[in-house]
């Protein structure tokens, strides 16, 4: 328990202290909100789909969370290069708790970043459909954050250095974001695209966020939550397996 707590605390401390990282990670969502939200808004409205800013705000929150969570997980690679990973690998605590603490820390940090984007979106003109939906939305954010923190650590456990980072961003994270329905409604897309989106866990996360924040969703809420919980459990399990196999 102590080990989980201290690893969690480390992630949170590092995050809170890196002001530039927090602000830097807000730039992209802001750009998406303003450029896409206002830019495509009129077209979206003309197509009879309603307010685009409201529609993409949950998508952009989801995008921010996946970026932060994966990036945080990838810090395992930095820790390997700067040597700190060894310190945790020889400690007499199970690697499961090390991995768990890191995942929880990464998830906390990513959720915080998601909340910041929610606030930013509110400033930009986004209004949640009801106040009572905000708390469950936090829970969904935390679930998304847990899922992708575990995935980030799993991927990082398999990589030796940061050279693979670009590869992961372009062939894993970007597709996960763009195929998730973060930016477009999944209701009327071609069947093939919908089929792909159905394999993307982020689709369900963003769908559930939309359910609570704007009161509209593509999939049943029960399906959203079941998929998120199941995939999170699988990634946690796989992540701790690969993490425990790391040789330094």
């Amino acid at each position: 328990m102590k080990a989980i707590y201290i690893m969690w605390l480390r992630e949170v401390k590092r995050f809170v202290r890196s002001k530039s990282r927090i602000v830097g990670a807000l730039g992209q969502p802001l750009l998406f909100l303003v450029a896409l939200g206002y830019g495509l808004g009129p077209v979206f409205a003309k197509a009879g789909q309603g307010n685009y800013l409201e529609f993409i705000a949950p998508g952009i929150i989801g995008m921010t969370i996946i970026f932060t969570a994966i990036f945080n997980g990838m810090q395992v690679i930095w820790d390997r290069q700067f040597g700190f990973l060894k310190e945790t690998m020889v400690a007499p605590v199970s690697r499961l708790s090390i991995m768990f603490g890191r995942t929880l820390g990464g998830a906390t940090v990513s959720t915080l970043q998601g909340v910041l984007v929610l606030i930013l979106a509110t400033v930009a003109g986004f209004r949640p459909v009801s106040l009572s939906g905000i708390f469950p939305a936090f829970i969904i954010m935390l679930l998304i954050a847990l899922l992708f923190s575990a995935l980030g650590i799993m991927v990082a456990s398999l990589l030796k250095d940061m050279q693979g980072f670009q590869l992961i961003m372009n062939f894993l994270v970007m597709p996960l974001v763009f195929l998730s329905g973060a930016f477009f409604p999944l209701n009327n897309v071609p069947a093939a695209l919908l089929a792909v989106a159905r394999f993307d866990p982020l689709s369900y996360g963003i769908d559930a966020l939309r359910y609570f924040l704007i009161g509209a969703a593509t999939f049943p809420l029960v399906l959203d939550i079941s998929v998120l919980v199941a995939i999170t459990a699988i990634f946690l399990w796989l992540g701790s397996y690969f993490f425990s196999k790391i040789e330094v």
């Binding site: 102590k2 201290i6 030796k160 330094v248």
Partner: protein, 267 residues
């Protein structure tokens, strides 16, 4: 006395490069053991296998009676280690690094605070405790690293070239602290160094490894007698030859890239 470290026929291969060919030795409980060898001889690879960081290709290892392979947590409970290369979190303060270590090793709070004070005084970093490690010089990081390794008093402590880059004052402080730990608490000390006079002065037993094989074992006096020399340094040079080991170092680099490529290709 019983042996607390037991190593038999230990082998480690990286692809077709054999880093540790066949290593057998033992360290008795409460002893001070020096593990000497030229660069690239297999010292650090052996230590990594003893401390659960690497899986041996074959052979037997017992740390405090536990096999690091099958009972890693029990083995890890038995030792502390100061690594040869840095392993601090530079984005935390000195104190936070120590507290993190204390939490990982479950050192009780009241003891932890007293020990942190004691050790920070030992390595003369008391007034820098709240500074970030990233602002430290190389020597200061080294000292902090040593303080951290000694924080929980384990049964065995591994020191992999602990005094590299330290001034003679700090070196002397360090060794007298280590000797005190050994005498007062019976902590077994296993260290590597390139300073032969340190090994001569501190270690009760010495093993010399070269090209992945133990080539001599015994006390400093015994090694000198064996080689008919007057100092440990002469004995060491006579046993390992005068050639400078650039060749070995570069081939171990090659081995590293090779193993990386191999692992990369597999995945």
């Amino acid at each position: 006395m019983a042996n607390i470290i037991e190593v038999k026929d230990l082998v480690k291969k990286f692809g077709d490069f054999v880093a540790v060919k066949d290593v057998t030795f033992s360290v008795e409980e409460g002893g001070i053991f020096a593990f000497l060898g030229p660069n690239g001889a297999g010292k650090s690879t052996t230590i990594k296998m003893l401390t659960t960081l690497l899986r041996p290709t074959s052979g037997l290892v017992r740390i405090n009676g536990y096999d690091p392979l099958t009972h890693p947590d029990a083995a890890r409970h038995s030792f502390g280690i100061v690594f040869q290369d840095p392993s601090l979190d530079e984005d935390l303060t000195a104190l936070e690094n120590l507290e993190l270590h204390g939490a990982l090793y479950n050192v009780p709070k009241n003891i932890l605070k007293a020990r942190i004070d004691e050790l920070l005084t030992l390595v003369e970093l008391s007034d820098r405790r709240n500074d970030f490690v990233r602002d430290f010089s190389g020597g200061m990081k080294r000292r902090l690293e040593i303080a951290r390794g000694l924080l929980h008093h384990p049964k065995i402590i591994f020191l992999d070239e602990p005094t590299l880059g330290l001034d003679p004052q700090t070196r002397n402080h360090l060794w007298s602290y280590v000797q005190k730990l050994n005498a007062d608490e019976g902590i077994t000390v296993f260290f590597t160094t390139h300073y032969m006079e340190e090994a001569d002065r501190i270690a009760k037993n010495i093993a010399i490894i070269d090209h992945g094989v133990i080539i001599a074992q015994g006390s400093s006096g015994e090694l000198q007698k064996q080689t008919d020399t007057k100092t440990l340094e002469e004995a060491f040079l006579k046993l390992t030859g005068n050639a400078i080991r650039d060749e070995v170092a570069s081939s171990s680099d090659k081995m590293r890239t090779h193993s990386q490529r191999w692992r990369g290709g597999r995945r």
